[in-house]
């Protein structure tokens, strides 16, 4: 589904991603872990199509197409969803209006008629139940005045509405208490099928108690320095990132 080959990205003259290669197949959950500043969010943003920095080398193939040539909105319509680390507020625009606009753009792209208001509201009710999001949230402006936890749950709700093929969740767990974390993880698990894939980006292992990854990657200093099964996450939690850093720094500068 997704192939990243030797991806190098520079921001303001500084190399942030230093040759990332990664392959995600449908039905898989990948976890990308790493300390702050290792390039996790940059990777997520590049995949989603944010126009920043310079891609100096490498290629990304998504469903057989060159992803880097696709506009951000087309990537979305082709099934890529980014759960933002810091969801953006849009004052005055109701969640209902926002989601309806988004969903209908997706439908138009697939050559389908826009959903009627009643069908849309019905779908919204279903999805709200699925991800256990409070009813009131969708009557408010997009993320405006939402608590940290509400924002994150709102991301999962949007993901449920858009049914992506590839969901990238950027630190969706940060700032969540354990109950909220369970709600988010539960949403991700409910939406999981053998046809879609998820990349979970996280700093901590604890989310992976609830979302079981097939593959764990450790990103450090712009490179994937270790790849393994879910046990890698547990080892990481036990030994901390210093363990990885030491290993890598020895190889690099030893």
């Amino acid at each position: 589904m997704l192939q990243i080959e030797n991806l190098k990205v520079e921001i303001e003259g500084k190399e942030i991603l230093k040759g990332i290669s990664l392959s995600v197949k449908k039905g898989e959950i990948h976890a990308i872990m790493g300390p702050n500043g290792s390039g996790k969010s940059t990777l997520a943003m590049v995949l989603a199509g944010k126009d920043f920095g310079n891609i100096t080398e490498g290629r990304i193939t998504y469903m057989g197409r060159n992803l880097l040539e696709m506009a951000a909105e087309d990537r979305s319509k082709e099934g890529i969803f980014l759960g933002f680390q810091y969801p953006i507020e849009i004052p005055g625009v109701s969640m209902v209006n926002f989601m309806k606009t988004a969903l209908n753009e997706h439908r138009k792209y697939r050559g389908e008629e826009p959903l009627s208001s009643s069908d849309f509201l019905k779908l919204m009710r279903e999805k709200k139940e699925l991800v256990k999001i409070e009813s009131g949230l969708t009557n408010r402006s997009v993320n405006e005045g939402f608590s940290g936890g509400e924002k994150k749950r709102n991301e999962i709700f949007q993901m449920a509405m858009l049914e992506p093929k590839l969901a990238i969740l950027d630190e969706t767990d940060s700032g969540l208490d354990i109950d909220a974390l369970k709600v988010v993880a539960n949403g991700v698990n409910e939406l999981k099928t053998s046809e879609n894939a998820t990349i979970v980006i996280t700093h901590y292992q604890r989310l992976l108690d609830y979302i079981i990854p097939d593959v764990v990657h450790v990103l450090y200093d712009g490179k994937i320095v270790k790849t393994g099964g879910k046990e890698l996450a547990i080892e990481l939690e036990k030994k901390g990132y210093d363990w990885i850093k030491k290993d890598v720094d020895v190889v690099n500068y030893g």
Binding site: A48, G49, K50, D51, A71, A72, E73, R75, S76, K77, F81, L82, F84, P87, I88, E89, I90, P91, G92, V93, N97, F98, M99, T101, A102, E105, H106, Y109, S141, Q158, L162
Partner: protein, 482 residues
């Protein structure tokens, strides 16, 4: 980031003006130029009584003694008043079947503008007075309204048919001595609408006037007068468009509103005059004096405006709150793009006791445009317990445009409470990217964000108008963010 900004600016171009067409129709016109003879000619063409001509001539003298106002934050090229045609009327073909028959060409024009003039085709809730250049082409539902004693007709007709009412109220809110453009209008005004709502009548439909400039080199100078007697209510809408032309055309109007005891008047404008092209060539100069007086107790006047058009806007719909417990409202969205300039706002003059006013102004600037809010809240000595709340927000798209606020507060009564809030924000790339990531194109994202920002004002518009206004906002800003 620099590159991104350049891209944004460069793309502030593709916004298409939808109403730029011209109707090729025979017109009855007079030569360019302004002098007493021209004024006499206009008056004669309109078959006006003598008192009206005298009013015009006095106004003309006043205008000659006045100077163009220069205090606004606008760069206005010199206007050659001798190079303007002050009267142009579409020639109607011989009326064969009925008095009400209109030239199909004109019907067509208004159909194209989305204003069908056949009553059966109209949404039943709106009566229209359609004005092209210097004359009213047709007023719909006149008879239906007359059954309730409501007078809704063109200003020229009112002068002929209801001279006493016109004489009594015209110039009482905006006298011809008021300002340069008011004096000019009073001297040469052509047509406009006249509404009279009798005591105790709630007008059963929205009244509206659609102003269309069509002829070249022509100025439009219309007057509207709305008179609401005790315990009456009316909601009035105004729309305007003009053809796309390289020359600048002048539009200098006067609107006067009078609200008696317990009367309420809502006045909504969706102003979409041709704004000029992306380089700032052409476009309408919109220099308008709009003012209402809450004369009776508990009366209310509410101005709502969505300003997307005209090359230069100079406009301050205001309220004089004379009746005790009366209230005035001003809700405005002003959009400027490319090289447009707008200096708009309001004056709330509190003279009665317990009077209230609300000002909500939302400026949206894009391209290389300049957008200013100018407001005055004045509480006079005897106006005890006056209350005002003002909120002035500016939204910037790109970094070559300007947003300015000039709020002014004068309070001469210590019991008054005046509050002012102001914010300036930039439409965020982050907001747009967030929308993009959900599959929403940049154009639609800007539309969504801007409409969200302007929601408070758009909500004040009558339903059908609100939908139009939303679309208009989006079209006006098309291509303004890369």
């Amino acid at each position: 980031m620099e590159k991104e900004q350049d891209k944004i600016i460069n793309e502030v171009t593709s916004g298409e003006y939808k109403y730029g067409f011209y109707t090729d129709i025979d017109i009855d016109t007079i030569p360019k130029g302004l002098n007493e003879d021209v004024i006499k000619l206009i008056s004669a063409k309109k078959q006006e009584p003598k008192w009206m001509l005298e009013f015009r001539l006095k106004a003309y003298k006043t205008w000659q003694s006045k100077k163009m106002p220069e205090w606004a934050h606008l760069t206005i090229p010199e206007i050659n008043y001798q190079d303007i045609v002050y009267y142009a009327a579409p020639k109607q073909k011989a009326r064969l079947n009925s008095l009400d028959e209109i030239d199909p060409e004109l019907l067509d024009t208004f159909n194209k503008l989305g204003i069908p003039l056949e009553e059966q085709k109209r949404l039943t809730g709106v009566a229209v007075d359609a004005v092209m250049d210097s004359v009213s082409v047709k007023t719909t539902f006149k008879e239906t309204l007359a059954e309730q004693g409501i007078i809704f007709c063109s200003f020229s007709e009112a002068v002929r048919e209801h001279p006493d009412l016109v004489k009594k109220y015209m110039g009482t809110v905006v006298p011809y001595t008021d300002n340069y453009f008011a004096a000019l209008n009073s001297a040469v005004f052509s047509d406009g609408s006249f509404c009279y709502i009798p005591k105790g009548v709630r007008c059963p439909m929205e009244l509206s006037t659609y102003f269309r400039i069509n002829a070249a080199h022509t100025g439009q100078f219309e007057r509207t007068l709305i008179m609401a007697e005790d315990d009456s209510y009316v909601s009035y809408l105004e729309g305007c468009t003009a053809p796309r032309r390289d020359e600048n055309q002048l539009h200098a109007a006067i609107v006067e509103i009078i609200a008696e005891k317990n009367a309420e008047v809502k006045y909504s404008t969706v102003q979409n005059w041709y704004p000029g092209d992306k380089k700032g060539k052409g476009g309408v100069y919109n220099f308008v004096t709009k003012r209402g007086i809450c004369r009776g107790e508990n009366s209310k006047i509410s101005w709502t405006q969505v300003e997307t058009g005209s090359a230069i806007t100079w406009k301050y719909p205001s309220c004089i709150l004379r009746g005790d417990n009366s209230s005035g409202e001003f809700y405005s969205v002003a959009v400027t793009n490319n090289h447009q300039q707008a200096d708009t706002g309001t004056k709330m003059i509190h003279t009665g006791k317990n009077t209230k006013s609300i000002i909500v102004s939302k400026g949206i600037s894009a391209g290389e445009s300049q957008n200013s809010y100018r407001g005055l809240v004045k509480v006079l000595k005897n106006a005890s317990n006056a209350r005002n709340f003002s909120q002035c927000d500016s939204l910037l798209l790109g970094d070559k445009c300007g947003a300015h606020t000039f709020p002014s507060v004068e309070v001469d009564n210590q019991t008054g409470i005046v509050e002012h809030e102001a914010t300036t924000s930039k439409i965020g790339e982050d907001q747009i990217f967030y929308c993009n990531q959900r599959g929403i194109s940049t154009e639609n994202a800007v539309g969504l964000i801007v409409n969200g920002y302007a929601k408070e004002v758009l909500n004040k518009l009558p339903m059908e108008f609100a939908v139009e206004a939303q679309k208009l906002l989006q079209i006006s800003l098309e291509g303004s963010v890369g």
